[in-house]
Subunit: 196 residues, 2 copies
């Protein structure tokens, strides 16, 4: 019989496309088999199991996202960098909702450590070089930026902001303005209460 030429690589890419079409959670080994015109069991020599497939899709998405972020950051600093970086996440999520969901999926610590997730963390830190923050505020800021970007994008995609004025593009712009202002003027920790 003619071989279909399935590889782990092609399977992962097809899985990512499928995720964008039907949602990451709905990605199924069976559907992929259908698309490759191959019997389901055949795929289990390329992929350990369903979870393994999803992990591979997550890793792919993280790579793609990190590549885009790196490009966006090149040659930019300060607010320009902040905006470009933020837009990478938002645009990626809009273009590839399934992959974006995959990128958020929880990975086991070992896999996560070997993923492009660490590039993201490094880039966020690099982004902050345009602002004058020293440790530990830099870490706090890294975490806050991650929270805002992820939180905003996922609420926006989930329809959380829909059907209400003003439109979300305006809010996005103003949120970036606000973050920029905040980073330029990061508040000192509040005074501890006076000792008795």
């Amino acid at each position: 019989m003619v071989r279909a030429g399935v590889t782990t690589e092609r399977l992962t890419r097809a899985g990512a496309e499928l995720a964008d079409e039907v949602g990451f959670e709905q990605v199924t080994v069976s559907e992929l088999a259908r698309r490759f015109e191959v019997k389901v069991a055949s795929l289990y020599s390329h992929v350990k199991n369903s979870q393994d497939l999803k992990t591979k899709i997550s890793l792919l998405a993280l790579e793609e996202l990190a590549d885009r972020a790196a490009e966006a950051l090149a040659g930019r600093s300060g607010k320009e960098a902040l905006t470009a970086f933020a837009n990478v996440y938002r645009d990626y999520a809009r273009e590839h909702p399934g992959r974006y969901a995959a990128a958020q999926a929880r990975l086991d610590p070992e896999t996560a450590a070997a993923s492009a997730g660490v590039r993201h963390a490094r880039m966020t830190r690099a982004l902050l070089r345009g602002y004058e923050l020293s440790e530990p505020d830099q870490t706090h800021a890294v975490r806050m930026l991650g929270s805002v970007f992820h939180g905003y994008v996922s609420l926006e995609m989930g329809g959380g902001f829909s059907h209400s004025a003003p439109d979300t593009q305006q809010t996005w712009d103003r949120v970036l303005d606000a973050l920029d202002a905040l980073l330029r003027n990061w508040p000192a920790p509040p005074e501890p209460p006076p000792a008795p």
Copy 2:
């Protein structure tokens, strides 16, 4: 035969508990049937289908969360209110990860409009009364707060911040400080570029 006394109500509660134990996505009609010591098919008279069950769990979680938020907000304003409100989300997510995930699940617009989700939006707006923001900045701020809270909590729960100093409680405190500062000093829109 003795009746088990299953009701939609009890099913929803049990579903919420199950979600906290095994994750919202893993909630299954079959497992619930096992717990009620009843055949699976029997549950389909109380719940339309698996999706319907999950929706009911989401609505329950949204109610609980809104109740807690309302209580936290009572009698507080300014930063005190901000902190209390934010902690509601974080604490709820820690105590009830499955329910929290349920609360984030996407609902169809009609269901969402009838859910406690609208109470959340109203409360966030109420929270901002302690700061002097007028429309449309108030809306922008509402969306930003939602993003930060949700983003932070979901990254923290997903282990996104783990294994790195400083601990996440410190970051959380400093992020709330930063948000408070930001809201007290919300930046004006940047100057438009001069006309040619």
